[in-house]
Symmetry: C2
Subunit: 479 residues, 2 copies
């Protein structure tokens, strides 16, 4: 950074440092610069030397002095021009890198220029943002100075008890002490994997599976044993049993309820059989139940955890799909791995953000969650149904289309020859974000599949996007 | 959990499940039970069967029905009695387990019955809780439904730019793109270690060092190369150079500014020498600067990062010691390890809690932070000075006592024979939490040392606690 060996005068070096920070917009036009006095102290130079650097920047038109209020960054001439409209309108195309599948699809979600059919994120207007924020404010006022205090792992007892009460609807009867609050479902899964498996171990997963999981397994240097599944009943239990008998696995990760991406729902008898089989072989099950609360009709499906008699199931979930993605409130009930997961949680993040966690707990406690969920389920059901219809109307014949009974994603099998990575690129250039199939596979499979997010309220923009996608698929499948 | 093979009537099994959840207080006295209808659906039984279970619980006096509002848990007779006063007054003593040094000291901090001299946590009343909460509320109102949205890694550009601006006072000129926001300093350190080192590698650390780091190294299966330091100038640079020449290390973790626990401050020439030496040997430096903003007088010390020319320094810090521990806002500037740290962040927690992060950014932006820091530094300085005086007056002769020029902890060397673990136990029984020396060592060293937290405003309670500690030390050192 700063050079001590250089022979150039100190003020030149200081001016260059500030110029760099103005150029890269660490200090942007209109910003107040540090006072000359502060800057001289920070840089361990005299006030006249610091002032010389400032005067030099002023001479060069980068900053100007305002009487009694200091130096400010000047607007640059170039900033006063508007950008040509087609530059701002065209989304920047970046490659999906082989090492980071999350990058493009996740970061595209924040890009207002793209129709967000890629990441599985609900439209924020469907979620109770105002109510949660008000609740958080009320809690902060009640707690006073304690509101900036730690909520050390395992996290607020109130919140854990509220989650424990909900476990009745999962077919369980868990208690507050069974849970650890985590930074969303992501941390829950990561802790579960680290508690059960070490680098070089092999983990059985569904194929296809959640792309965040694929990414996580790679970062943890874990090998993957993909087990086929079908879009209705989930993992092929016979195939799983054969695979586990043949290959030593350290854990098995399952998304039994409204699987991501297929939407499959494992029947209770399959759940029980898998739990009992893997318990007998001492293979821990990591259950991702993040969509479990989002059935479209009827009863909330039960968890694998229901059939767990010896703490072999590590149940992971969060409120990111149903309440507040950005609050980062998830949980894990790690069974016999409780102690190990606690140690890892403390060595990874120590505590959750207190106020957002308490606000979610309060939302669960005041009874509003169930009423609210009923509305959300109906909305997701409707959005999924409309997208299914639109796809059926506009996509070429012969495609396959999932028929999920919960959650808000669709898994689409395109004609054999269609390259979904190429489709992803062309769709992105046309202003539409989608998730190509290979992201959901550790081996780059599902080349002719895509996943579509139905978390957005149905409107003409999405209708058009599906029309364009249909057209692109048609063209690509005939090449 | 639920049994499918049992021959007992279903309602008996259901009643037993609910009774268990009432007994363990998942449902507490006064709580409303799930409606009979909801419960029958959750359990996949008929309404009459569910009702039979409820009636049975009612007959046994566990719940009672209120017309038109459902069943409620009855207060138990035992709950109406007060606890004998000496039971509530006596803090529960638990052992510090060898595998989890964090447990006792950290969880004791929340225990109002103990004088909190153990964990290094400021008294929350010193921190701007109300202002931050109000700021968070204002941001939530402004963002509307976007307020529950993700702030995906690397985190808000505004917040990263505000931190980048502050880097001038560290002797650096970093830009927003150099930073990733993390879940407190804990996640920053954990990501830095995981990005540079793999299980089985050896990491050079200061001895003594922060106990959270000792815990983290153990959980990551990393070996430790402890390098001696002194309480004034920090790590012994000659010893570090010799050690690194002799032993292959994957990284070196340093707390150069107001070291925890010793309070040492590395002189700039030592900083430069260490950075240049380790860069030449390609050993990454993980710099923990969490106390850097808290000098008692004069200028903010510079960071190792200032001397970093090739991205070899991973700078880690947070606002947990200066603004809001429970908001969990930290950051890392990982230099040449940026890409790897980003991948690990996404695979560990994906995003930070948005609103607390933005509130901290706003606090930095509006210029209040510097003014506020001036007051906080004076407070910490005063509290440290008072505790030093009290120790000098009440502890036996011949002890050593650190003289920190920043931060808010004291490191005390007791007479050789004093066992600080035993002192910890006796102090705890007397209502005082302290941090015994062996927590700060990977090999259980520093048996006759303790660290004291000066984050609490000085008052008679602390004065008394120091008196009692002095007495206990006296007694233990004469055994």
């Amino acid at each position: 950074m700063n050079s001590f060996t250089s022979a150039e005068p100190v003020y030149l070096r200081l001016a260059a440092v500030l110029e760099g920070m103005i150029h890269n917009r660490t200090f942007s036009p209109g910003d107040r610069m540090p006072s000359v006095r502060d800057f001289s102290r920070q840089q361990r130079v005299s006030v006249p030397t610091a002032l010389k650097a400032y005067v030099m920047l002023e001479t060069r038109g980068l900053i100007n002095a305002r009487p009694k209020s200091g130096f400010f960054v000047r607007p640059r001439q170039a900033d006063l021009l508007r950008e040509p409209s087609d530059v701002t309108a065209a989304p920047k195309i970046t490659e999906i890198s082989a090492t980071d599948p999350l990058d493009s699809v996740l970061s595209d979600h924040g890009n207002k220029k793209l129709v967000p059919l890629g990441a599985a994120i609900p439209n924020y207007s469907l979620l109770p943002a105002e109510k949660l924020a008000r609740t958080m404010g009320a809690i902060a006022r009640k707690l006073g100075s304690e509101s900036i205090g730690y909520d050390m792992a395992p996290g607020s007892e109130m919140v854990r008890r509220e989650i424990a009460r909900r476990s009745l609807s999962w077919g369980c009867s868990l208690k507050a002490e069974d849970f650890i609050i985590t930074i969303g479902g992501t941390e829950a899964l990561a802790l579960a994997l680290r508690a059960t498996s070490k680098p070089g171990d092999t983990v059985a997963i569904e194929s296809p599976t959640y792309y965040g999981l694929v990414h996580m397994l790679r970062e943890l240097s874990l090998n993957v044993l993909p087990v086929p599944m079908d879009g209705v009943n989930g993992i092929d239990v016979n195939a799983l049993e054969r695979a586990v008998k043949r290959t030593k696995v350290s854990a098995c990760v399952l998304i039994p309820n409204f699987n991501n991406p297929t939407g499959a729902l494992m029947p209770d008898e399959n759940k029980q059989r898998v739990v009992e089989f893997l318990a007998k072989r001492n293979v821990p099950i990591i259950e991702d139940d993040i969509y479990g609360d989002l059935q479209h009709d009827g009863m909330r499906p039960h968890c694998l955890k229901k059939f767990d008699r010896d703490g072999n199931v590590l149940l992971c979930s969060s409120f990111s799909k149903s309440l507040a993605p950005g609050y980062r409130v998830g949980y894990i009930a790690p069974g016999r791995f409780y102690k190990r997961v606690m140690l890892l949680k403390k060595a990874s993040t120590l505590a959750n953000s207190s106020l957002p966690t308490l606000a979610v707990g309060e939302f669960l406690r005041d009874g509003g969650y169930d009423r609210y969920l009923r509305g959300l389920r109906a909305t997701y059901k409707d959005q999924v149904a409309r997208m299914r219809e639109a796809i059926a109307e506009t996509f070429p014949e012969g495609i396959g289309l999932s028929r999920p009974t919960g959650g808000f994603v669709l898994w689409v099998e395109l004609p054999k020859k269609t390259d979904s990575i190429e489709l992803f690129r062309q769709a992105r250039a046309a202003g539409i974000s989608i998730a190509p199939g290979p992201l959901f596979s550790a081996e780059g499979g599902f080349r002719n599949f895509i996943r579509l997010n139905c978390g957005e309220p149905w409107d003409a923009r999405i209708e058009r996007a599906i029309g364009i996608l249909g057209h692109l698929v048609e063209r690509l499948s005939n090449r």
